[in-house]
Amino acid sequence: MKKIKKIKIKINGSFKSVKDNTNLSVLLKTLKIPLKKVAIELNQEILDKKKLNKQILKNNDKIEIVHFIGGG
């Protein structure tokens, strides 16, 4: 049986192991992220939320997903 290759990424400061060639759009759906209410950064570059399905994750990618919370 062929072994599925995995890569290590970092999301919001925590390491996560995902399948190689994972598309960011799929990952965010799995994590149930409400796309309309967040902004996403990949390796410190802000991503266009409409083009997430074209973003294939690589080993050591750093993803930041932010939203609005209460603040003064």
């Binding site: 999301i11 939203h67 609005f68 209460g70």
Partner: protein, 260 residues
Amino acid sequence: MVSLKKDKFIIAGRNFKSRLIVGTGKYKSMSQCAKAVKLSGASIVTVAVRRVNIADKKKALLMDYIDPKKVTYLPNTAGCFNSKDALRTLRLAREIGGWKLVKLEVLGDKKNLFPEMIETLKSTEILSREGFNVMVYCSDDPLMAKRLENAGACAIMPLAAPIGSGLGIQNYTNIKIIRRQTKLPLIIDAGLGQASDATIAMELGCDGVLVNTAIAKAKKPFDMALAFKNAVIAGRQSYQSGRIKKNLMGSASSPLKGII
């Protein structure tokens, strides 16, 4: 009589109904925050940009409690101590839903939370060039306020006192000087402790006030939200009504003619 309806509060070309801006931090719960915001009558609320909690998918979101279509969200850069972080935060905020009206706040000291004005000025210039409408938290220095205006700020927001201190306005003279020199919206941001502080700010000629801790941490936040709402209206009306001159001696209110 000065009609409040005709008295426009315009920031970056948009007219806002209320001159009271409230922060959404430090509340016991989101529902408490939402109710206080409603009672305050605020048209603008400040919000912070932070990481989504990936582990807790059921955690409530601020947008579920305060509808950004009904109340204008003003993303801030609270917690940023340099221009780089502030710019990154506001660019992300814009990406969430197209927010261009933002509050820039670059802090310089973790204890007194005073603004780092060199970094603030630098950030104002860059953000304005990028098309942001930048409301700027700043020191109460009239010279620096002028430089921010020249750098493209859409509102000048000097502190009354350190953030969350509740000390009220410490430097009336500087606020009056800034009022006299700028036609931009002048909003007192930070340091107010009670409703009368907001009235004083408005009577000094400020266009609005921004309050968070004084409402969120009051014993009765809902009552305090209402008190601030009324205080801002009272202060504005008082300012526009033209106060009497101060006199050293007394002046009787009852006529002396016909005295028995």
